[in-house]
């Protein structure tokens, strides 16, 4: 056998690296590839049903609905083939649905949590029940999506919600010392009304800047050095490319919802105090009876654990579990360790409760 001689000319190598760098910095990765069908729409919101991979007999009878944040694209849950939570859960036999909030336009500047939790979610869930034929369902909320699912679980939980999974849920805002966002948006320094009067919705770029400024060196320097150091490793480049595609795809946050997030939650901590009123109804966390799994990322600088943990003592759920994972806000579900730790734990918790 003749072995091919590999010539490592430094100029060819540099040209190759530059080509790879240009490609990942200027193109979008092929993400969200799992087949799905659009089953419901309202305004910008869309409900997708992923095409099941197992036969009905082998599937869990209780469907799972995933709700992600309002200001990021939900395809982080289906990042890329071979590394997708959606793909993983389909293989575990779930009838899987995704609520995509879409990008709000100027006409949506008055949308509030009230609209999302009492108009959009109940309607999407009604459709899910019709399609799946199941009166019960599970809800998975991540980040701001966890705020919405918690509010929904409190106000409409009796309408078939069996299991509630909260991932890095920012619910308690009492510990101001640990919350950088709370400091930045303090009423002494940040005028919400002025920002919303200027923009209508909170621009995605500003939210993205805020998130990145929490760890500026990691996000603006180390992240790119990591790519540069690993340009020869296609596995790392592919992963970086997919993540960069998601990170740079920003969505504005509807003005009304942003006002509630800052004033009612970050400043007044109304949800945990039991003072949050949604369309005339008080959000009482003790009205949550669904089985509850709360996942905390120990390295989360956006939603520290102190924001998610207190809900455990507020709910009336007889079956509840708090799970701590090493990793960051997004890393626990989309990082390299997610498929080995977080996803199996979620599936292991949900499987027996979905029969």
């Amino acid at each position: 056998m003749i072995e091919a001689q590999v010539v490592t000319d430094p100029f060819t190598d540099a040209a190759h690296r530059l080509k790879t760098l240009t490609k990942v910095m200027t193109t979008r990765a092929a993400i969200a590839q799992t087949p799905k069908e659009l089953v419901w729409t309202l305004n910008k919101a869309k409900l997708y049903r992923y095409i099941p991979v197992l036969s009905k007999e082998k599937r869990h009878p209780v469907p799972l609905l995933m709700v992600f944040a309002l200001m990021n694209r939900p395809y982080i849950l289906d990042l890329r083939p071979g590394h997708s939570f959606v793909e993983y859960m389909l293989n575990k036999g779930y009838d899987l649905y995704l609520l995509d909030w879409g990008a709000p336009g100027p006409e949506d500047k008055n949308l509030k949590f009230d609209d999302y939790t009492l108009d959009y979610m109940p309607r999407a869930i009604r459709k899910l029940k019709t399609i799946s034929g199941s009166e019960e369902f599970s809800l998975l909320g991540w980040c701001i999506g966890a705020i919405l699912t918690t509010i929904y679980a409190s106000l409409r939980g009796e309408e078939g919600l069996r299991n509630l999974i909260l991932l890095t849920a920012p619910l308690d805002f009492s510990n101001k010392q640990n919350l950088t966002f709370a400091r930045w948006t303090d009423e002494r320094y940040f005028d919400v009304e002025k920002v919303l009067a200027a923009f209508g919705n909170m621009p995605g770029e500003m939210i993205d800047y805020g998130a990145k400024a929490l760890k500026p060196v990691e996000n603006y320097v180390s992240n790119y050095l990591k790519l540069w150091d690993n340009l020869d490793d296609p596995r790392i480049v592919e992963s970086w490319h997919a993540m960069n595609t998601w990170v740079t795809d920003n969505v504005s946050l509807a003005g009304g919802a942003f006002r509630q997030l800052i004033v009612d939650l970050y400043r007044k901590d109304k949800l945990m105090r039991g003072e949050l009123v949604i369309r005339g109804e008080r959000v009482d966390l003790s009205r949550i009876h669904a089985n509850l799994l709360t996942v905390i990322a120990e390295g989360d600088h956006i939603t520290p654990g102190c924001q998610s943990e207190p809900i455990m003592s507020k709910v009336s759920s007889a079956d509840k579990e708090l799970f701590r994972m090493s990793g960051g806000h997004i890393g626990i579900m989309a990082g390299s360790g997610a498929s080995k730790h977080t996803w199996p734990h979620i599936s292991g918790w949900l499987d027996p409760r979905s029969e």
Partner: protein, 141 residues
């Protein structure tokens, strides 16, 4: 213990530089995280945003007014008109969704109540054959 893979790995002259760089980045990162968590950073960034908004809002208003007049003169809908149509579209979508819900409910109620289709009493194959021949004879006559 040094394994074979480590022994065969070519020496990278840049490795010490990279290690040094990472140490420096770690230290820089900690300093920056401390800085953005300080009260005066919050105050400074708030002041910068406020200044930007204070300066930009009058310009924005002038542009908006000019645009509105231009659109009026061209007999074209303004942004407010388009927003109003979008609002109405969403309301129509909600009404459609309500109707869809009612239809689903009606269908679900109708299916179990639907009278079962009259079924032929089950017969043995030889009886079915006999019936078929009788029917054929009747048709001939």
């Amino acid at each position: 213990m040094i394994n074979a893979a480590t022994e065969n790995k070519p020496i990278d002259p840049m490795e010490p530089w990279r290690e040094m760089r990472d140490v420096y980045l770690d230290a820089w990162s900690k300093t920056m995280v401390d800085m953005v968590n300080r009260e005066d950073y919050a105050q400074a960034s708030g002041a910068m945003l406020d200044t930007y908004l204070t300066v930009s809002i009058p310009f924005r208003e002038v542009v908006e007014k000019a645009m509105l007049k231009t659109l009026e003169q061209l007999a074209m809908p303004s942004r407010a008109d388009v927003i109003s149509i979008a609002d109405r579209m969403t309301n129509i979508e909600m009404r459609l969704d309500d109707m869809d819900a009612k239809l689903d409910k009606a269908l679900a109620m109708a299916v179990p109540q639907r009278a079962p289709a009259p079924r032929e009493p089950s017969r043995a194959p030889h009886q079915k054959k006999a019936l078929k021949t009788k029917a054929a004879k009747r048709r001939k006559t």
